[in-house]
């Protein structure tokens, strides 16, 4: 899950609706913590009623958000395990040095620090991107000849410890 996928307004609405006081979202190394101030202004009747409903639905929501949080934490741990190679500039991503040549690397390949992983072409200059860690390529995050943005993840490498 990425922050860009999260509709904060919807999140606030749901927190209010289900009276969730606090939620933590994690994306890679960044985390957002949202806390809501709740004022105890209910009458005893409605408070009991609300609490009951809250216990029912809130519990469900909490369970949901716990599962969500667990997923997020798992993903964060996976990303921490992997070294991410990002695009250093905007351009076109190429997996091979020339159209008829083999790809520099494939998923599962062992790479050493300094090995060339890909080319990012910008303004007709071919920029070779090297890995600065040794490890195994776990994922190639973009397709060949795809346009990439600055700092877009290109490779996930499981580093050798």
């Amino acid at each position: 899950m990425k922050f860009k996928d999260v509709d904060l307004n919807e999140l606030f609405r749901m927190m209010e609706e289900h009276d969730v006081a606090e939620i933590v979202l994690k994306d890679g190394k960044t985390a957002i913590e949202v806390k809501r101030n709740r004022e105890p202004t209910h009458t005893s009747d409605s408070a009991d009623k609300t609490d009951a409903v809250q216990a029912e639905t809130g519990g469900a929501v909490e369970g949901e958000s716990n599962r969500e949080s667990n997923t997020l934490i798992t993903e964060q741990k996976n990303n921490e395990k992997y070294h991410i190679v990002e695009a250093p500039l905007v351009g076109t991503f190429y997996l091979s040095p020339a159209p008829d040549e083999e790809a520099f690397v494939e998923v599962g390949d062992q790479v050493n620090s300094g090995d060339v992983l890909c080319i990012v072409e910008a303004m007709k200059s071919m920029n070779e991107i090297q890995t600065d860690v040794s490890g195994v390529i776990k994922e190639i995050c973009v397709d060949n000849a795809e346009l990439v943005e600055f700092e877009q993840p290109l490779f996930k490498i499981e580093t050798n410890v």
């Binding site: 250093p88 500039l89 905007v90 351009g91 076109t92 190429y94 040095p97 020339a98 159209p99 008829d100 040549e101 060339v116 072409e121 910008a122 303004m123 007709k124 200059s125 071919m126 920029n127 070779e128 991107i129 090297q130 600065d132 000849a145 346009l147």
Partner: protein, 273 residues
């Protein structure tokens, strides 16, 4: 003019009789040469001259200039302007050598133009191509900037596919060019523009690039980006070196990769600023 009689003192020059490609030679010998940068590798002929994405660059013996400059840039942030810097340098080199004593000056009936980002045209035909291959290290960039200039070709020297689209200095001036002399002028001019790039004098580079591509300004062009072909109006080059194109809806978009199709406009940059 005296300084152009020799190479810049800081530059190591390696002259080869033949190699597969001067870019390849520099990349293969990087470990031996890295402590001697900047270097210029120049060859009388290339057996496998290359353009972008492995296109062939015709490199017969003594007909053209086949040179590669190897140097470091401190930061990857300079890279988007490097193709323009190289293109400007080639145009100014061609301007300079066609104005040497003995050559006609004001009477010239041709001009050189820049087709973004770094194709050099003369009379709407390609006279020079540039292939830049950079290796990005953590703290610096090793640049391999290869430059090919058609100097002494006759029409017969070009294969059929290039006869209508390529030209040479000889074809437009009637005179042959001495490769070493052109290399010396190019070296001075390129490193002078490179110093501007390193000193963040980007405005001057962009202004000059816009001036040399002035013959295309406000004219319709066809733009290729991978498999996508777009018809647009060329509005110029922005401060980051990107091309500004106006689409059919009148909205402007900036592109950092892609290629302008061959054009048939007469190059006249004199009135453009």
């Amino acid at each position: 003019m005296k300084k152009y009689n020799m190479y810049p003192g800081f530059l190591e020059v390696i002259e080869l009789e033949s190699c597969d490609s001067t870019n390849n030679y520099l990349k293969k010998n990087y470990e031996q040469l890295k402590s001697r940068l900047p270097v210029l590798i120049t060859a009388a002929q290339q057996t496998r001259g290359r353009g972008r994405r492995d296109r062939t660059w015709q490199s017969q013996k003594y007909l053209g200039l086949y040179s590669t400059f190897g140097f470091y840039l401190e930061s990857g942030s300079k890279l988007p302007l490097l193709p323009l810097t190289a293109g400007i340098s080639v145009i100014e080199t061609l301007n300079k050598i066609t104005r040497f004593p003995g050559n006609s000056d004001g009477g010239r009936d041709f001009e050189f133009g820049l087709k973004w980002p770094n194709d050099i045209l003369a009379g709407n035909r390609k006279i020079s191509g540039i292939l830049i291959e950079n290796t990005m290290f953590k703290e610096k960039v090793f640049s391999v900037t290869g430059i090919g200039i058609n100097l002494n070709h006759t029409t017969e020297n070009f294969p059929g596919s290039l006869k209508d689209t390529a030209t040479s200095l000889r074809l437009i001036t009637g005179k042959t060019g001495k490769i070493e002399k052109v290399n010396k002028v190019l070296s001075h001019i390129f490193f002078s523009w490179l110093a501007k790039l390193k000193n963040n004098e980007h405005k001057e580079i962009i202004e000059q690039a816009n001036r040399y591509s002035g013959f295309l300004k406000d004219r319709p062009i066809t733009f290729h980006q991978d498999d996508k072909i777009t018809s647009a109006i060329f509005r110029g080059i922005n401060n980051d070196g990107g091309i500004i194109l106006e689409g059919r809806q009148g909205t402007e978009k900036i592109y950092y990769s892609g290629e302008i199709s061959p054009v048939s406009y007469v190059i006249n940059n004199k009135d453009k600023k």
